[in-house]
Amino acid sequence: MSTLEVSPLAPSSGASGQPKTNDFSIQVGTVNGSGSQTANTVLLRTIFQMGIPVSGKNMFPSNIAGLPTWFTIRASQQGYIGRRKEIDFLVAMNPETAREDVMNLQPGAAVVYDEPLQLRALRDDLHFYPVPFDKLVAPVCPDAKLRKLVRNMIYDGVVAWLLSLEMAEVRNALVKQFGKRKAKAAELNWGAAQAGYDWAAQTLTKTDPYRAERMNATTGKVIIDGNAACALGAMFAGVTVVTWYPITPSSSLVESLIGYAKRYRHDPETGKATYAIVQAEDELASIGMALSAGWAGARSMTATAGPGISLMSEFIGLGYYAELPVVIFDIERVGPSTGLPTRTAQGDILTNAILSHGDTRHPMFFPCSPEECFSMSMEAFEFAEQFQTPVFVMSDLDLGMNSWMADPFPYPEKPIRRGKVLSAEDLEKLGSFARYKDVDGDGIGYRTLPGTKHQAAAYFTRGSGHNEKAQYTEREDDYIHNMERLAHKFETMRSHVPAPLVRINDRAKIGFVAVGTSDYAVRESCDQLRQEYDIETSYMRLRAYPFTPELKDFIQRHERIYVVEQNRDAQLLSLMRLEYEPELIAKLRSVRYFGGMPLDARTVTDEVVRQERK
């Protein structure tokens, strides 16, 4: 049948127009478990190594093999690395989804596809490039068993030719990917890539406008996922007790920590570990171990996602009320209940702020990049020990599991501070201490660690009523006094959490407020609004809860504030509603998306324009 499809197949309508350089998005539609990961990463790295700002996002199903998966790569000379909905360049390898994928394209997009799929018939406004993958793979990969994997490298070659990517960088990327040890595999794949490239060069005529051109916008940068960055932050923060229970999308955080700790956290002489990483039986156990390790003086953490958060809530309440330091990494995913485990969201913001029964409030940090995953993880450990309370680091699947460009992480120059801990010597001087007394007026008491060699060191920790001396009490006044101190402690946090980042635009009547990965869409949307609608905007990216005074000022400064977030119930905006004056609340508008894909700028821009037009 392939005779039916003679390339080049320029679109009858939708002229290709002037070349689009370093500004395109590629989507590869495959089946998970088919080993397309390598081919996709190589494609990503090639563009990265050509100095072009790039990001890669993996849309994978919640199963292990056989279901549709999409990998999207966005190259952007302006440095937009958030998701872009419109696909310019489709590589259709999955028979199940190829047709729908093609139908979703904008006119003028390009489609590289497996010839037998006969997609060409579907539309006449696209650039079609049918590729006989099976024919091409056979010669370069004699071993039939391996063909399924190597096959994918062929599209790397074809795409390389079409986008004029540098094959030298494709090779470098391959070597990087396979490392020294797997040189043979690297060669095999290189062969396939070349075969694809050569075939394309001989057979195809390029009719689409997309092309890459070397820049130098990525020099010195690294590519890393947020989970690995959090792991590094924890390791350099000196974490000593890590307890976890596997759950997507948080597992890879602890798993990469395991890998790094193996290399950098063993005693050179004895080979013994300076850390404990324990896979618990469930999240009740993992948080219980972590909390109590914090109680006993360790820098402790756990990582989880939605369902784990729910299971941890009883213990988190104990942590709040008994005042125990621990860092909880919540890598958010979609949904109540099991939801969509492999989709991204910012859906635990409100839940975590008040997690557990009774009156509670918990601090949250919101990293938006690998750099911040690294730095904020370290800050979170300091903060947890300074305030003797559980701290949530709120990441999400998009940040945690996708590949991001980042500046190399700076080595932490500040020494580790362990908070208000009394040593035996201190006790010798003081004679005694009252665990829950607000000595310094900041709401934070002094604690001692079990094992402190002093008769006055001991105190009794409990989740039931206690007075300043940590003695059991059911007295009305003791209880109220203690709860008011806890509220005061929370107020103290406002001047110690990471401050927001703000871009004030004096001509702007409206401002954006967002946290975490919504940042990329918002930043791009600011430009879209200016360029397409000349609407000027200011922008404040919050980096923590409780909110700092800057947020209030920012709201006051503007007529309308668009709070952008990735959940249904406007959870971030809700937290603002809880504490602000009506005049400020009156200015708050909500832009929400909760479909599980990384948030894109167009969605934000359209919604803002819609509301502005009202």
Partner: protein, 347 residues
């Protein structure tokens, strides 16, 4: 009239502390509660062995039993946590500081009902810890509902009979990884003392299931956890004698039917066999003994199982000898070179 100070109260142990240093605050449990007797035994043992109070960490869940850590070892840190999750809490603290002497006190509801899963996983890990179950077959603090260790046929005050078979925490413990497992009775001072002392010397998880009658809700005739029932049906496996490592052993050793178990710190647990031959190192034998005793309606007390070879969880994790909690920055924060190396790999 005022009482004159007796010399006894001035006595000190080998580290120069009085028994007072091992006491806690006044108990708020019912007069006559078995749990109070256990608290007293704990005070005596730690005093007599001369353990530094501040080297001990106390853990508990929620319940009358779990309140008791406030009533002994007032100079030790204590953590009265949440219901049924003490195993995780104890494990976390021991990970943070392996040099602590961990003492967990909990109830049958706390352990066998809500806490069964955590209990089993702690057992599987052989966490170095003394885990004392104050077993009364009921939920004392919530006024007498059945726990999962209530025996078939035992009745509530309301007369309602329990129809589900009990979990035997000793059987579970010795079968799935605990390395020192014993049963006792809150009324048996001498036996409980030697068991606690041996537990202190043991390196690994000790589980002691102590029948501890609830005089308020479960000390009536229908109850198999009542004082009278246990007194009538108790069958001690053997006489126990414990020799701390700092006492001269030779003089103590008696030949013949005495089995001497050397514990990791050099102290000795000497078990005098009674009529029946019993080998506390044979797991299946122990299970069978428990099975038979139960069939006969007997309460088998004493050391059921000892294993001095299985490594504890801390050793399995290959942790440094110093407490992780207080390792210096130089040890826990990798070098600048390390970070550079990592970044290089990611370029």
């Amino acid at each position: 009239m005022s009482t004159t100070i007796t010399p006894a109260s001035k006595k000190v142990n080998r580290i120069g502390l009085e028994v007072l240093n091992y006491k806690g605050s006044k108990t708020t449990l019912c007069a006559g509660c078995g749990h109070n007797a256990i608290s007293e035994r704990i005070v005596e043992c730690f005093y007599e062995l001369g353990i530094e109070p501040w080297s001990v960490a106390k853990f508990s869940g929620i319940g009358c039993s779990s309140k008791s850590p406030a009533y002994f070892l007032g100079q030790s840190h204590g953590f009265n946590s949440v219901h049924g999750r003490m195993p995780a809490v104890a494990t976390g603290a021991m990970l943070a500081n392996r040099t602590l002497l961990g003492l967990g006190v909990t109830g049958d509801g706390d352990t066998a009902s809500i806490g069964l899963g955590q209990f089993m996983h702690m057992v599987r890990r052989n966490v170095p810890l003394i885990y004392v179950i104050e077993n009364n077959g009921v939920y004392g603090l919530t006024k007498g509902q059945f726990s999962a260790t209530a025996d078939v046929g035992s009745t509530l005050k309301t007369g309602a009979p329990n129809q589900l078979p009990p979990f035997d925490c000793c059987a579970l413990a010795l079968q799935w990884g605990a390395t020192f497992v014993a049963r006792s009775f809150s009324g048996d001072k001498k036996q409980l003392q030697s068991l606690l002392k041996a537990a202190i010397a043991h390196n690994g998880l000790t589980v002691i299931d102590v029948i501890s009658p609830c005089v308020t809700f479960n000390d009536h005739d229908g109850s198999t956890k009542s004082y009278s029932y246990v007194k009538d049906h108790e069958e001690a496996l053997h006489e126990l004698d414990f020799v701390p490592f700092f006492e001269d052993i030779s003089v103590e050793i008696k030949e013949g039917e005495v089995r001497d178990v050397a514990l990791h710190d050099g102290s000795h647990l000497k078990i005098r066999k009674l009529a029946r031959e019993y080998d506390p190192t044979d797991r299946m034998a122990a299970l069978n003994a428990l099975e038979q005793a139960e069939a006969k309606g007997e309460v088998l007390t004493g050391v059921l199982y000892v294993n001095t070879t299985r490594p504890n969880f801390i050793d399995v994790l290959n942790l440094v000898d110093q407490p992780l909690a207080t390792l210096p920055e130089s040890v826990v924060r990798p070098t600048r070179a390390a970070l550079n190396e990592i970044m290089e790999e990611l370029r």
